[in-house]
Symmetry: C2
Subunit: 157 residues, 2 copies
DNA sequence: GCTTGACCTCAAGTTAACTTGAGAGATTAG
DNA sequence: CTAATCTCTCAAGTTAACTTGAGGTCAAGC
C-alpha cells in the first residue's frame, strides 16, 4: 500500500516518508534542504533520499523553531554536526556547548518575566509604581534606551 | 535643544520621545498602534501623544517578542490591560494568570531541550542511540508524527 | 514669521519562512 | 505495461512584522 510498507533501505528514506515521520510538510523539507539545514542524497531517478539521522535533525529544527529561534540561529547550531550520519560525541558536545548559552539566556529571561508577572499580583503595588517589571520613573529614558529591568543586566530590586 | 528638554507633560509624550525611551523605531510604534497593541491620543495638530504607561506596555511587547512570542499572542496578553493608564491590580493579575501558562510551557521545553543537549555530552552514548533527545527507532514514525520526546507529553524516563 | 526638525498619511518594498501551482518525470502494485 | 502515487523543478504567492519613501503638516526657537 504505502511506500512505507515496501522494503525501505534505512538510509534511503524518500521525502514523503520523512515528512510523515517528522510531521513536516514535504515543501518545508525541500526548503530546509535548499537552505542547507539538511542534505539529501539522490537516487538514480533524481529523487531525494534521506538518512534516518535526518529525522532527528529535522525534529531538532522543529523544536528550536517552536521555541522562537530563527532558522539562521538553528543553522548555526547545526553547522558543526555532520549531515547524513549520526553525530559523534565530540561533534555533539560542541554543538551543545555553543547552543547552551542561548538556551540559558532565554530560560533566565523567561523565568524573570514570569516571576515579575507573578510578583506584581501578590506584591500589593496597586499602582504598580514599585513593580520591578516596570521602569519606574522612566529610568531607561535617562540612561539609554530599551527596557532593561527584565531584559538587561541591571539586577532587580 | 532636543524636544525632551522642553516641558513635556507627563502623559503627552510625542512619538519620538517614546521611541527614544523604548529603543523602538517610530515606524514600529505607529505599526503597533495600527495593530491595536497601544493606543495614542492626539493633540490639536493631529500628532500622537502617549502616556507614560505606554512605555512600559511597549517594553513588555519588546521583551515578549524577543522571547519568540508573536504579536498576536502578545496582543491577546495585553488585551485585558487598559490603554493609556497604568493597569489595576486585578487587571494585571488577570493578564499574568493567562500568560503564565505559556511562559511556563516554554520554560519547561527549553529546560528539557537544554538538559537533553547536556546529557548527551556526558552520557557516553557515542552513537547517540540511547539519547533521550532522539526518537530511538523512529518511534514517531509508528505512533504519529512530529517529534515528541522533547516537545511532547511523553515523559523522559 | 520663518526655518528646521518632528510628525502625519499612505503606498509600496523587504525579510523570513514557507505554500501553492504548473508541467513533467519516477516508482511500484497488479 | 499501466494506472496511481510520488517526486522533481521553478516561479509566484502568502503572512508576519516592519521599513522606506513621497509629499505634506506642525511646532518651537530665533
Amino acid at each position: 500500500m504505502t511506500p512505507a510498507s515496501a522494503a525501505l533501505k534505512p538510509n534511503q528514506l524518500p521525502i514523503g516518508e520523512v515528512a510523515r515521520r517528522t510531521g513536516l510538510s514535504v515543501s518545508a523539507i525541500r526548503f530546509y534542504e535548499e537552505r542547507g539545514l539538511v542534505t539529501a542524497g539522490r537516487n538514480k531517478g533524481g529523487q531525494r533520499r534521506f538518512a534516518r539521522s535526518d529525522i532527528r535533525r529535522l525534529s531538532f529544527i522543529m523544536i528550536a523553531q517552536n521555541m522562537g529561534f530563527s532558522l539562521q540561529r538553528i543553522t548555526l547550531a547545526l553547522s558543526g554536526l555532520p549531515t547524513h550520519r549520526a553525530p559523534s560525541k565530540a561533534e555533539w558536545a560542541k554543538m551543545a556547548e555553543d547552543f547552551r548559552g542561548d538556551l540559558e539566556d532565554r530560560i533566565v529571561t523567561l523565568t524573570r518575566l514570569k516571576d515579575r508577572l507573578d510578583t506584581c499580583i501578590g506584591c500589593g503595588c496597586l499602582s504598580l509604581d514599585d513593580c520591578g517589571l516596570y521602569n519606574k520613573q522612566d529610568i531607561a529614558g535617562r540612561s539609554g534606551s530599551g527596557p532593561r529591568y527584565v531584559i538587561g543586566t541591571v539586577s532587580s530590586t
